[in-house]
Structure formats: C-alpha cells, structure tokens
C-alpha cells in the first residue's frame, strides 16, 4: 500500500527511502534524493507544535515529525509552542489530506 492508501484508511505513515534511508516528504513513490524505492514506517509518531493560529474558534497548527515532516493540522485544545502531540485523526476528503492532532 502506498502513503495515500494508508492515509485514506486513517493511518499516518512516514515514507522512507529503502536505499538512502532519508524521509521522503511530500510523499512520493520514489526518493527525491536518490530515486530509490520508498517504504512506509508505521506509527504512531510524536510531533512537536511549531506554530499555530485560530479561525472561528478552531485552532490549527504547524506540526513537525521526525525533525523533517511538517503538516498543518486541526487541534481541539489551545495549542502551545513546543507541545508534543500525536495524530488522532487523518484521511483524504475530495483529494485533500486532513490531519487532526491531540
């Protein structure tokens, strides 16, 4: 299964090159460093909140995983810089990814 198939099933995986072992982000079928094949590391992973804001009482944040991958995610409680979070919900709707962390 590739990254999007797993994400579609609600599972966030980290794509990693089988040859040079670098994380491949954004997710792709081939490594953007050495063009090696990509495999998926299963979670759960812990991320760190780098920044956040809020729209209509809904907080959202920029989260970093494995010192490499950054995503924008929804969060239910007021975030703090440096807060450690895990992905609680993720998926794909109408072709767009969504992430929620807690």
């Amino acid at each position: 299964m590739n990254f999007e198939s797993k994400l579609n099933d609600g599972e966030f995986c980290i794509p990693e090159c089988t040859e040079c072992k670098k994380i491949v982000w954004p997710p792709a079928e081939y490594c953007n460093h050495c063009f090696g094949d990509v495999s998926l590391k299963d979670g759960p992973f812990v991320g760190k909140i780098l920044e956040f804001s809020r729209q209509n009482q809904q907080d959202f944040c920029l989260v970093e995983f494995e010192n490499t991958i950054r995503i924008m995610a929804k969060i239910s409680q007021r975030p703090e810089i440096g807060q450690i979070v895990k992905i609680s919900k993720c998926g794909i709707v109408d072709g767009s990814y969504f992430f929620e962390v807690n």
Partner: protein
C-alpha cells in the same frame, strides 16, 4: 552581455469585472500600443502571456487579437510570480539573440484558480493562502514582539499610497483602528491585512539595447535578475518569520547589477499580506531582522513613498498573473519621473520583488535609468 530595456507599457484599472480572460489580456496590450505608436508590431518576435487562468493557447490568441505574428508565443504560469518569471523569460530571449523585441502581457480574473495550490497536501485542509499568512504573522509577531496594531501600519500606508494610483483596486484610506476592526479572517489576520484577488492586466515591451534606443528617449534597463525556488510546499519553509528564497534572489539580483540595498531608491515588494512587507524588507537587507516595521513607520510618518508607491498588492489588488508586470511598470514610471502624485524624489535605481506560495519562490529585478 546585451542590455535589455523596457520601451513601453500599458495597464488598466484593477476591478472585480467579470470578463473573459482573453479580453482582459487585450485591455492592457491595446493600451500599450495606443500609447506607443512608434512600436511596429511586425517587429515583435515573441509574445509571452502570464496567467494562472486555465484557458488554453492564450499567447497565440492575444497575438491574433493584436495583429502580431510572432516567432515565439507561449504562456508562463508560476502562481503569484508568473509576471516577473515572464519578464525574465523575455529578457533571456533577447539576450540570447532569439528575439529583439518581446511583448509580455499578464492577466487574471478575480476568480483565478491560482489562489489555491491543490498539490500542497502538507497543508492539510488549510490550503487557502490566509492560513500560511496566519502562521507567518503569528510567528513574526512572537519572534519580534510586534503587535497587530503595529503591523496594521503596512495596510494603512499602502492604502494611502494606492489612493494616488488611478489603476488601484482600492481608493480608500484607513486608520490603524479601521484595520484592526475590519473583518476578522483568523486570529492573526484582518480583511484589510490581505491583498484582494481581482481582475486586471498589465503589458510591457522589452527590447534589445539597439532597438530600445531607437524606440524611446528614456529606456529603463533591467540590470539585475535573481530568482530562487526553495520548494513548492509551504511547510518546507525553513522559517516562518523570514523569507529564504527572497534573501537569495535579492542577493543574486543586486550582485548582477553591482548594487546593494542602500542603492535602491524605490521598490515594489510583494505585500500579499501585511506581515510580508517587514519580512521582505528584512530578507532583502533594507532593514535588520525584526526592525522592518521601524522602517515602514518612518516612511509612513514622513509620507515617503519609497516602498510600494503604487500601493503594493494590498492597495492595488492582486490579479496574480498581472502583478509582477504591474510592479515593474510602477518602477519604470518612477524611474522615468512619470508617477504623478506617487513620484519619489529623483530615483535612479529601482527594485521589484515578486514571490509565490508563501515565499517558496521569489524573483527580484533591479531596474535603472
């Protein structure tokens, strides 16, 4: 290397008009040829169209509508900096000898598909530019202890300057209080902090040195070009309070023109949102890190139009494909002392900064008399 000069331009008001993109393109090209009857359309070797519109074959269509049969005709898309990318392509065609004279026309409709980068899934459901702008704003305010009220001066200044620009989308002035009390878009962004999508077009003609000197007494020379793309995805930016691609592009452009930021007399910079202006001034070396607002306050308080004299994107509106060309036209007018009430005092060197998708890509041009 051959010199490349700007020999003519045409621009029309930025509005919310619901008009076919083909006719939006034609508007400014028609204005250009009406105002520059010395330009022989049979001598135009290339027609480049800058737009994010999904309509096809726009350059041949514009060529046909303007009675030009160019050797080279194609479109260029790079989201918000499509305009300066097109000017760089035109410059390259001339320097290489493939063309002697190039028409560059940029146009966009208010409902441009270029506002959302669908591909950038790392943004999750937060794909609209207001979300990266909110993150930038929060980060900049946090790092340099800047308040919303302090940042609002960018919008106040640029709306004030746009009032002197007959082609600007906005013709109103606002106070800091007006900005703060305008519609809250997110916790960190008010409506008046945002540039507005609109319909508009801008055209420019570039020519080789020999041709430029034949066609105008006051050509404006492009003496520096710098471009840098660091990624496509917003979340790959190394900082949310500094623009790396802008820093690198400006260094390249200034080096090519043998200038430094102190030599720049007037600049149009890409204030897509209020926070962008201080970040860009700092990234390009006009101000030291964290002190961009000091410079902006001083300019505003002394009524000095040096930065974004036409009102920037916030005051003028942001028809994506036309923006970089409109910025270049403004600096051309300034250097030719043709900027009316927006005119800064005796400028000799000007700069254009145009960026895309949360500063993942930047273009900087240096223009001289």
């Amino acid at each position: 290397m051959n010199k490349v000069g700007i020999v003519g331009y045409g621009i029309t008001p930025f509005t919310k008009e619901d008009q076919k993109i083909e006719f939006v393109l034609l508007d400014s090209a028609k204005e250009l040829f009406r105002n520059n009857s010395q330009i022989n359309r049979d001598e135009i070797d290339a027609v480049l169209v800058s737009t994010n519109n999904n309509s096809k074959y726009l350059s041949p269509i514009l060529s046909e509508m303007t009675g030009i049969q160019p050797k080279i005709a194609h479109s260029i898309e790079s989201l918000c900096n499509s305009g300066t990318n097109s000017i760089v392509s035109a410059y390259s065609y001339i320097v290489s000898g493939l063309a002697d004279m190039v028409l560059v026309t940029g146009a966009e409709r208010y409902d441009s598909p270029g506002q959302i980068l669908e591909w950038d899934n790392s943004r999750g459901e937060y794909k609209h530019p207001i979300f990266w702008a909110s993150i930038f704003t929060k980060s900049y305010k946090r790092e340099f202890s800047i308040s919303d009220e302090q940042l609002a001066v960018v919008s106040v200044k640029n709306h004030k300057q746009a009032k002197e620009n007959p082609n600007a989308f906005s013709n109103k002035t606002y106070t800091v209080e007006d900005v703060i009390n305008s519609k809250k878009i997110t916790e960190d962004l008010r409506l008046l902090d945002c540039s507005r999508p609109c319909t508009g077009s801008a055209s420019i003609i570039l020519a080789s040195e020999e041709k430029a000197k034949q066609l105008t007494d006051k050509p404006i020379w492009i003496t520096g070009i710098g471009q840098k793309t660091t990624s496509a995805g917003f979340t790959k930016n190394s900082s949310c309070s500094y623009m790396e691609s802008t820093k690198l592009a400006s260094q390249t452009a200034l080096k090519m023109s043998n200038k430094n930021s102190k030599d720049i007399d007037v600049a149009e910079i890409h204030d897509a949102f209020s926070v962008c202006e201080p970040m860009e001034l700092e990234s390009m070396g006009f101000a030291i890190e964290g002190h961009g607002m000091d410079m902006i306050n001083e300019l505003h308080n002394t009524n000095n139009f040096k930065i974004n004299p036409r009102g920037g994107l916030i005051g003028s509106g942001h028809p994506l494909g036309a923006t970089g060309i409109a910025q270049t036209i403004e600096i051309t007018q300034q250097l030719q002392s043709d900027a009316g009430k927006r005119q800064v005092d005796n400028p000799n060197v000007g700069l254009v900064h145009n960026m895309s998708a949360a500063a993942t890509s930047s273009t900087v041009l240096v223009l001289e008399t």
